[in-house]
């Protein structure tokens, strides 16, 4: 049967011998392990360890979410990772490293969790949301958001709208909420453009999974209302070109997602170009200009607290390594989100 999953298997089949780290960078390492087993081929030890880690996270999830629900008052919306995983053929095939919850009062929620025995994640250096917490013994950081992860140059939908729309979580835990498929699909799309358009293969797979069964009549109007029309349209076309029933090489694939078909990292130059050009997908000319100016200025300025000599050194290195793969070393300031 020509399902999303069989098409994805076809896409990753030529890359099964890639290093586990490389596969993990695109979030398809657990799918690759399954494919190797189906072919009766050995699964590298590192991939087996990754599978074990994910199985343990999945086991720990219900008790962790139950603790959070019992501790935090008010509505809690669970986003991304486990909600998407619930739509996979096996939830353990969708890796996630943390949980993302959206609450009306993040600081109060963080204080309540700390008072209940949760602890702060120590080495956290990303100031754009609260320091995550974790339960001792369960290595799953919990990121507490006051707004959904959204395009940097756009305003996300209001919490009032999101909490009003929320439905019971796919985890089945009483009192835990999530977003309906239409809104969740668009949130995943917005998130996939947050740091650079369509960076990882798993982002497109997640979006396609969440959108299964939905039609354009449901998604397009809401995308337009949320100012995501151009972003959603390009994302949808990239998905169709990559893992759609009739894969093609449409321009969104060439422009934004050619590294995904090859399952490689973008080069440093491609990454910067993608970040800058991506701002032109803002909904209005004024918004495009504003987004481009803010993004370019942000790229040219030192990061918070970074001395100018360090910034100059970093920029020189980026120019020198323009054709090299964009690596985690380059990701300072561009939080690699795992949910």
């Amino acid at each position: 049967m020509n399902t999303l999953w069989s098409r994805l298997e076809t896409l990753i089949a030529p890359k099964l011998d890639a290093s586990p780290d490389h596969l993990a960078a695109h979030g398809v390492h657990l799918l690759a392990a399954r494919a190797l087993r189906a072919l009766d081929r050995p699964v590298p030890r590192q991939l087996q360890d990754m599978e074990r880690t994910m199985a343990l996270r999945e086991l720990a999830l219900p008790s962790l979410l139950t603790r959070i629900r019992a501790t935090v008052s008010g509505p809690i919306i669970l986003l991304k990772g486990p909600e998407v995983a619930a739509r996979y053929p096996d939830p353990a095939l969708r890796a996630y490293g943390d949980l993302d919850i959206l609450v009306p009062e993040p600081l109060a929620a963080q204080h309540a969790l700390l008072a209940a025995g949760f602890q702060l994640v120590d080495d956290y250096a990303f100031p754009h949301h609260l320091q995550p917490v974790f339960w001792p013994g369960l290595p799953i950081p919990i990121e507490i958001h006051h707004t959904p992860s959204w395009l940097r140059w756009m305003t996300p939908p209001t919490n009032a709208e999101l909490f009003d729309l929320a439905i019971p979580s796919a985890t089945g835990l009483p009192g835990l909420l999530t977003l309906p498929p239409v809104e969740h699909t668009l949130l995943l799309a917005a998130h996939s453009w947050r740091h650079a358009p369509l960076r990882r293969l798993i982002d497109l797979v997640d979006i396609a999974t969440m959108a299964e069964g939905l039609d354009a009549g449901q998604l397009d109007p809401k995308a337009g209302r949320w100012g995501l029309g151009p972003v959603w349209n390009t994302t949808r076309r990239a998905i169709e070109a990559l893992v759609g029933p009739d894969p093609s090489t449409s321009w969104p694939l060439h422009l934004w997602a050619r590294h995904l078909r090859a399952m490689r990292d973008r080069t440093v130059a491609e990454q910067h170009a993608a970040v800058w050009l991506g701002t032109l997908w803002a909904p209005t000319p004024r918004a495009k200009l504003h987004a481009l100016a803010a993004t370019v200025a942000g790229d040219l300025r030192p990061l918070g607290g970074e001395p100018w000599p360090v910034k100059v050194q970093r920029t020189s290195r980026a120019i020198r390594d323009a054709a090299s793969p964009w690596t985690p070393r380059d990701r300072r300031g561009q939080h690699q989100e795992h949910g």
């Binding site: 599978e51 343990l56 720990a60 219900p62």
Partner: protein, 87 residues
């Protein structure tokens, strides 16, 4: 004697292994292939002797080895509270 898995213990198969989580202590345990087969018998109401017999049929072990291994496993699982003896 038969055993049961207490409600605070969650487990899942992972190919030829089993991983267990004790949600009271938040401790994990991974069982290798042979222990996973024995677990499959014990966790579904089988006795230690039945688990040992299963190991003999599926692996190249003597009845004595199988009895010894399953005895050690059951003792460890009981000590860690991962199974309970059925009354």
């Amino acid at each position: 004697m038969t055993y049961r898995v207490p409600p605070h213990v969650h487990f899942r198969s992972l190919h030829d292994e089993v991983v267990l989580l004790d949600t009271k202590s938040d401790s994990y345990l991974g069982l290798n292939q042979t222990a996973a087969v024995a677990w499959g018998v014990i966790a579904t109401g089988g006795t230690q002797a039945e688990a040992a017999t299963t190991l003999v049929t599926q692996f190249d072990v003597t009845p004595e080895q199988a009895d010894n291994d399953t005895g050690t496993l059951v003792a460890e699982l009981l000590a860690k509270g991962l199974i309970e003896a059925e009354p």
